[in-house]
């Protein structure tokens, strides 16, 4: 599975060792279905909705969410991706990697954006994403959906839709994929 392989190879030579599987593939799927229904309930349908996946981890669940919403509503819900790397407040602190992953063909003015990420942690990525979204128009509202909220916020940001609340230590790592959610540590092999 590409995502895990990529994430297990670190520049500093450390590797990710999983300690516990907290959700399996079916759990993830169920959570997405639940979130889809919550989104529809909250917005009284799908009119004016745009689902935006936050690069890179938020893109697969966002695509699935958009699919589920389209299925439930019986009509296409627009989907886009966003790379907030260029908006981060820590560009000078650590490597960032813009990957031309921003595909937003819609003017967001007046739309309700459902911003999707895999893991909500410090909140800094979401903060950057909000800045980035503003450059694509004035959305009527932005709602945040995450698969896992692991706590440790450094900014006043809270999710609107959560797959699972997962208490973690700061030094732990959470990995999300279609196959499930895994918690583990970075170790020197």
């Amino acid at each position: 599975m590409a995502t895990t392989e990529r994430r297990t190879a670190r520049a500093d030579g450390r590797v990710f060792r999983s300690r516990a599987v907290v959700m399996d593939g079916a759990d993830v799927r169920r959570a997405l279905v639940r979130i889809a229904h919550e989104v529809i309930e909250r917005n009284h349908g799908t009119d004016g909705l745009v689902v935006v996946g936050l690069h890179a981890g938020g893109v697969p669940p966002a695509r699935q969410l958009a699919g589920l919403l389209s299925e439930i509503a019986g009509r296409e819900v627009p989907f886009g991706t966003l790379d907030a790397a260029l908006y981060r407040d820590d560009v000078t602190l650590r490597p960032v990697l813009p990957q031309a992953a921003t595909h937003l063909d819609h003017d967001l003015t007046g739309k309700v954006v459902v911003l999707v990420d895999d893991v909500l942690f410090t909140g800094r990525t979401v903060r950057a994403a909000l800045d980035a979204l503003a450059d694509f128009g004035r959305a009527r509202a932005v709602q945040l959906a995450v698969m896992v909220d692991r706590g440790h916020r450094e900014l006043p940001i809270r999710p609107d839709f959560v797959g699972k609340n997962l208490p973690t230590r700061l030094d732990e790592l959470v990995e999300v994929s279609e196959e499930g959610v895994v918690i583990g540590d970075l170790v020197t092999p």
């Binding site: 994430r7 490597p95 813009p98 990957q99 980035a132």
Partner: protein
């Protein structure tokens, strides 16, 4: 932010310093910025608080504006320094000038100079990162990057969307005053490093006097023999002072032998394109009708110049150890 200034600063002085993989990385990075340039609000806050100074000791409005636009679209502050009307006119040395600017805390110096190697000299004296924006007849690295980026777009069109990593197999003829052209020197190196087959076309007086070590497929004075096989024809600007130096008999003779007129353009391959670094001498190296035909990618080059220069500025100001294009870049971000 000054406490976290990256320790290892690099410069962009010459394409000769870059390996193929680095060129590929820079072009891939430029893809991100090309997307930014096309947004309704084409500006990102990435280099907020950084200062980019353009130091042009030789006039060039186009290149300077392109760099300043790139810097502004990354939210960097810009300063511009021109040799006329400055302390250089009062006899201040190049070293004193750049050291003074360096002391103001500039992050990037974009240097254009009439003498080959001046940006290399500046890089030895200052703490700032130095970008060569054209030095004498030596190099013009960002021009070569934007040219390669533009040709990569052409390959993407042919492939139906996805841009290839490099320019493998592309055939390019560079036509005109190669001897005195910094654009040609950078382009030959960049195109060849990316796998293109490069031909030089010029009379002997405008070809470099020694071509040993040049990564080219050939050099000669016969444009018409090559024309039908080329995927791209790169026309260099002919400086009119070449006539008075006795390197050419007349503009008329040059245009007849090497100018890309409508008749020659017809004999080009389907889908083949025409590039020019600007400003064009219409009626000399390029016919007006060709310049405005769909083959000409000149305005696309200008647009891509901003994206490529954004990529260069970003690349130079990235923290040490960041490797664009490598998966560790993102994987290193704890979530």
């Amino acid at each position: 932010m000054s406490g976290v200034r990256p320790a290892a600063r690099r410069h962009l002085l010459s394409i000769a310093d870059l390996k193929r993989d680095e060129l590929v990385e820079l072009l891939a990075l430029a893809d991100s910025f090309a997307e930014v340039v096309d947004r309704p609000i084409p500006k990102v806050p990435t280099l907020r608080g950084r200062t980019v100074a353009t130091l042009f000791f030789e006039a060039s409005t186009r290149t300077r504006l392109s760099f300043e636009t790139a810097a502004k679209r990354l939210s960097a502050d810009t300063m511009s320094f021109g040799a006329s009307g400055s302390s250089m006119g009062k006899g201040e040395s190049l070293r004193d000038t750049v050291e003074t600017l360096d002391a103001m805390g500039i992050d990037v110096m974009v240097v254009r100079h009439h003498s080959a190697g001046a940006p290399h000299q500046v890089a030895r004296w200052v703490r700032a990162a130095v970008v060569n924006a054209g030095d004498g007849q030596h190099e013009h690295p960002t021009q070569a990057l934007l040219d390669c980026f533009t040709l990569r777009e052409v390959l993407a069109e042919r492939a139906g969307g996805q841009a290839p990593e490099d320019l493998d197999g592309l055939k390019v003829a560079i036509v005109g005053d190669v001897r005195h052209s910094r654009v040609a020197r950078s382009d030959v190196l960049a195109l060849a490093a990316l796998g293109a087959e490069v031909h030089l076309v010029a009379p002997a007086t405008l070809l470099p006097c020694a071509l040993e070590g040049w990564p080219i497929a050939g050099a000669g004075a016969e444009l018409d023999e090559l024309l039908g096989e080329m995927d791209a024809v790169y026309l260099l600007r002919l400086q009119l002072e070449r006539m008075s130096a006795g390197l050419l008999p007349s503009l008329r003779e040059y245009a007849a032998r090497f100018g890309l007129d409508a008749e020659r353009a017809l004999r080009m391959k389907e889908g083949a394109v025409v590039l020019h670094p600007g400003p064009m001498n219409r009626g000399v190296e390029i016919d007006a009708s060709v310049a405005s035909s769909p083959r000409a990618r000149v305005t696309r080059q200008v647009r891509n110049g901003v994206a490529v220069r954004m990529a260069v500025l970003f690349h130079l100001l990235e923290p040490a150890g960041s490797t664009p294009g490598s998966p560790e870049g993102l994987a290193g971000v704890a979530r």
